[in-house]
Amino acid sequence: MTAVKRYEHGSRVPGWDEAADLTKDPAEIPDPATTPVPEDLRAEIEAHMANYPDRRSATLPALAAAQRVHGWCSPQAIDEVACVMRLTPAYLASVATFYDMLETTPVGRHSVYVCTNISCSLCGADELYAAVRDAAGDDADFNVRAFECLGACDIAPMASVDGVYVGPLTLEDVPRLLDDARAGRPVLPEKQLARRRVADPHANSQEFPEHPAQEPQG
């Protein structure tokens, strides 16, 4: 009868049960001589560092860049950023695990963030999320996540597919959404937020949602 499972979400935290591996050396700032960094990545991180009075400010953009290269913030990715930024990997791991968009476990290369926060869920996001999960099944290419409010409640229920906002989605849209992403096509072009007009009737002489305001993304 207990509906709240003993280790239900919120209790089980990955990592909590892990001891340090005493055979490893302490993780200090990586030695450039033994830590090769892809040239493009190094250049990008260095460019970010130059943007700020304090190089440490480039942490988020640098981690994001490394994630684009490696698919996730793997220990190797973090080591490379640490090496270029002259920070310890632990510092970067601490930052990376704080932010939802930085992945600290391996994930599929197509991200589908389905907003399941309040406005979207009022419009059926929970069912949508379940449908996307089911449709993606165990396709290792997809990283389907229930996300907090993505700031597009006007197109609820919605999702961000590889960074492109689409909505309002129906359950029928799900297969095409995944297919488009898989095929590298613009995802559901007619439902992209980029093309949507402001809702305010005073700001519109026409009815929405005609006339794409911008080119579809993707």
Binding site: R6, G10, G15, A20, L22, K24, A27, E28, T97, F98
Partner: protein, 775 residues
């Protein structure tokens, strides 16, 4: 940076008018009125308050919301309530929140009985909880490092440990991972948290989440006693408190002394106590018999040693290690000088004592805490984390919190480079030449040539000169500069150049500025010199006139202290080595020293020890030189068993108090020396440890009038007492011809991590291996 001088204000707390320093945080100010505000995350040693735990909420009139007492500076006229209904509700609430996921496993928790969470729950909590949901349960404890275990269930996320790692040690290895209620303390990708100061987090943790693996389950707060003393495992001489149970040291905690250690300990100081209780320790007198060292009676060992010494009269030398007390140095010097007609006494450092004398002038002396408040600090020829670790933290603190400008000049990359404004390199062994080049950059002279000879970069030298000349000070006031130097730099006229800098940079008599040596001679290097354990120098740095002119009763040269009339025939460590090898000297007395376990040339010393007819040692461990060459070994007291005094590099006399009884048959070492002296027909006139100390205070003019009581638990800098004026005028110029002793090898002593105490402490062994590999 002048130290802040807070003014006193009056505020009201719980209806009481209280005077407190302005702008101190309310939780501290409240203590002046005997009001306790509970805290978890607040720890002023860790820097600015973070206000995370919310335990310290108080009500301040005129401010609608409750405020955190840990972060609210007190102002004149403030009216504060800590007992109102609102405050109590908030306190109860915070305790309740903290406990909802806490396992409440106090009966099996190592912290039980000395746990702030227990105390605060008892004092400020409601005693009940309304939380009936399942708590988190996890595997525990887990290893965080070879030294530390972590129990994440107990953690209350106060941030103390991670702040230590990030803001004090600055190693950035221990961090919080994840967010919100999922946050947990960890390291990167399962790496252990291994860093020179890691053990401090155990002491910082206000719950039982971080525990010492060496101490876990070994004792309970109600069956231990605390005993304050001083760690003599390196020159930093941090103040410690030994946790003793059943006459065994179970743990070492910091005993905060701002002037010495700022409340921190390095891992050696914290864990090397284990070497006190290991089987490898020598706890009986040993005599070589049939090629083997064998346990014998005290009588036999004493007689064997005394006979050897008597036979070698006039041809005896003694070497002392840094762990010796000043009293032991004084008494052994008397034994040699008065009983054995020998003037050959030295440490293993091989630094010319005349140079040491010139640099020991009281007016030139900076203190450990000056490192934190100076405008500019120059670290030269020393890697603090290897030589005198706790000062590494002090320097970092100065840079981080007080804007000290740091320059580092060393032969190898330094761990302080990242904090430094300037990091300069020179060739190993070229420290003195580097100083000469720096002097040239500042005051003219052949710069480029000298810089090249030192293997240093001219532009960087110029930048350093510029920093020292102008950096930091505002207005017209001259800036305060502190130079922290490894004193092995002194050979090759290094002292001349250092003194030239000191004069030019206005270090002389300038409060907050000055020189601070890291003695190559080890922990009590300074104390041994001042006690007269030095070739040609009697107690109080008075030169002993050439041979024949016998010293008086207390080893003091009779009144006249000719400045440079020191006995030129007195040999220093290098001379002793050579003389032993040629047979000019035949007996060697090793007080906590093993030349083969040092950076002295191994072959020379192997030969010297081989040739010596008598080698007498005081030792805790049979290191290579002793195992193979000693004829008699007396068991040495560990630092937790010893009484006596030592002198910090900045001149602070500190007192060792025995925390436990001596192991096995070990006897007080001063009494062993006195007994040997008796057998060599000298009466040293000591019957107790206190008498030995008194003899020291009487013998050294600039200690005059000191007593053990005055030294007390915090120590006394002799430079700050009236008797300091008795400091003998140092020789005006460098020794005429730099003696062979004036050439310290570039690394006269190894890292403090490379010693028997580390090697023989079970939980530190892993570090010892690491250091060896790196060396």
């Amino acid at each position: 940076m002048p130290r802040p001088q807070p003014k006193t204000i009056t505020f009201t707390i719980d209806g009481l008018e209280v005077r407190a320093p302005e702008n101190s945080m309310l939780v501290d100010a409240a203590k002046h009125g005997d009001v306790e505000i509970p805290v978890f995350c607040y720890e002023p040693k860790l820097g600015n308050p973070v206000g995370a735990c919310r335990m310290c909420l108080v009500e301040i009139e005129g401010i609608p919301k409750l405020q955190t007492g840990c972060s609210t500076p007190v102002k004149d006229g403030m009216v504060v309530h800590t007992q109102s209904e609102r405050v109590k509700t908030a306190q109860n609430a915070v305790v309740e929140f903290l406990l909802i996921n806490h396992p409440l496993d106090c009966p099996v928790c190592d912290k039980g009985g000395e746990c702030p969470l227990q105390d605060i729950t008892f004092g400020w909590g409601k005693g009940t909880s309304r939380f009936i949901e399942p708590k988190r349960h996890f595997v525990k404890p887990l290893e965080l490092s070879p030294l530390i275990a972590i129990d994440r269930e107990r953690c209350i996320l106060c941030y103390r440990c991670v702040r230590f790692s990030q803001e004090i040690a600055e190693d950035y290895q221990l961090v919080l991972l994840e967010r919100g209620a999922h946050s947990y303390v960890s390291t990167f990708d399962g790496h252990p948290y291994v860093a020179p100061f890691s053990g401090n987090i155990v002491e910082l943790c206000p719950v039982g989440a971080l525990t010492s693996r060496a101490y876990r389950f070994r004792a309970r707060p109600w069956d231990i006693e605390d005993s304050g003393s001083v760690c003599t495992l390196c020159p930093a001489q941090c103040n410690v408190s030994f946790t003793v149970r059943d006459d065994r040291v179970m743990r070492v905690l910091a005993r905060e002394n701002d002037e010495v250690d700022d409340g921190w300990l390095c891992d050696k100081g914290r864990f090397a106590y284990q070497s006190i209780h290991v089987d490898e320790r020598v706890t009986q007198p040993l005599v070589r018999d049939g090629g083997e060292l064998r346990p014998v009676s005290w009588e036999r060992a004493l007689e064997e040693a005394a006979a050897g010494l008597r036979r070698a009269r006039g041809k005896v030398a003694a070497l002392a290690g840094g762990g010796s007390t000043s009293e032991e140095g004084l008494l052994l010097a008397r034994l040699l000088r008065e009983g054995l007609d020998s003037e050959h006494l030295d440490t293993l450092a091989g630094v010319d004592c005349r140079d040491l004398h010139r640099l020991a002038e009281p007016a030139l002396q900076a203190t450990a805490s000056d490192l934190e408040f100076a405008h500019t600090v120059l670290v030269i020829e020393t890697e603090p984390v290897r030589d005198i670790p706790i000062l590494d933290l002090r320097i970092r603190k100065g840079v981080r919190r007080h804007g000290v400008q740091l320059a580092v000049a060393t032969p190898r990359p330094s761990s302080l480079d990242a904090s430094a404004k300037l990091a300069l390199r020179y060739a190993p062994g070229a420290g003195a030449t580097f100083l000469q080049a720096l002097a040239a950059a500042l005051y003219g002279g052949e710069l480029e040539e000298t810089a090249r000879a030192a293997g240093a970069d001219v532009e960087q030298l110029r930048a350093l000169a510029e920093l020292l000349r102008t950096g930091g000070a505002t207005g017209s006031a001259p800036q305060e500069i502190v130079i922290l130097y490894g004193d092995r730099i002194l050979g090759h006229r290094g002292a001349d150049d250092l003194l030239k800098l000191a004069r030019g940079l206005n270090l002389h008599g300038h409060a907050g500025a000055g020189l601070l040596a890291v003695p190559a001679a080890g922990a009590n290097g300074r104390g041994l010199l001042e006690a007269g354990f030095a070739p040609g120098y009697g107690p109080g740095l008075r030169a002993i006139a050439a041979s024949g002119a016998h010293t008086g009763r207390n080893g003091a040269a009779d009144g006249e202290s000719a400045t440079d009339g020191k006995d030129a025939s007195a040999l220093g460590v290098h001379g002793i080595g050579a003389a032993l090898a040629t047979g000019e000297l035949s007996a060697l007395y090793l007080l906590h020293a093993d030349p083969l376990r040092s950076e002295l040339p191994h072959e020379t010393w192997s030969a010297a020890l081989e040739k010596a007819s008598t080698v007498i040692a005081h030792a805790s461990f049979l290191t290579e030189g002793l195992r193979e060459h000693a004829n008699v070994v007396f068991p040495a007291e560990s630092y937790a068993e010893k009484e006596g005094t030592v002198v910090h590099p900045d001149g602070r006399l500190q007192r060792l108090r025995p925390a436990i009884g001596r192991r096995g048959e070990t006897r007080a070492e001063w009494s062993v020396i006195a007994e040997l002296a008796r057998r060599c027909e000298v009466d040293l006139d000591v019957l107790t440890g206190a008498m030995a100390s008194q003899q020291l205070f009487d013998a050294v003019p600039f200690y005059a009038g000191l007593s053990l009581e005055e030294i007390g638990g915090r120590g006394v800098r002799w430079q700050e007492r009236g008797a300091a004026s008795a400091f003998p005028q140092p020789p005006a110029s460098a020794p005429a011809e730099p003696s062979a002793d004036g050439t310290a090898s570039p690394e006269a002593v190894g890292s403090i991590w490379d010693t028997p105490e580390v090697e023989f402490s079970p939980s530190l062994k892993f570090l010892y291996k690491r250091e060896r590999v790196e060396a």
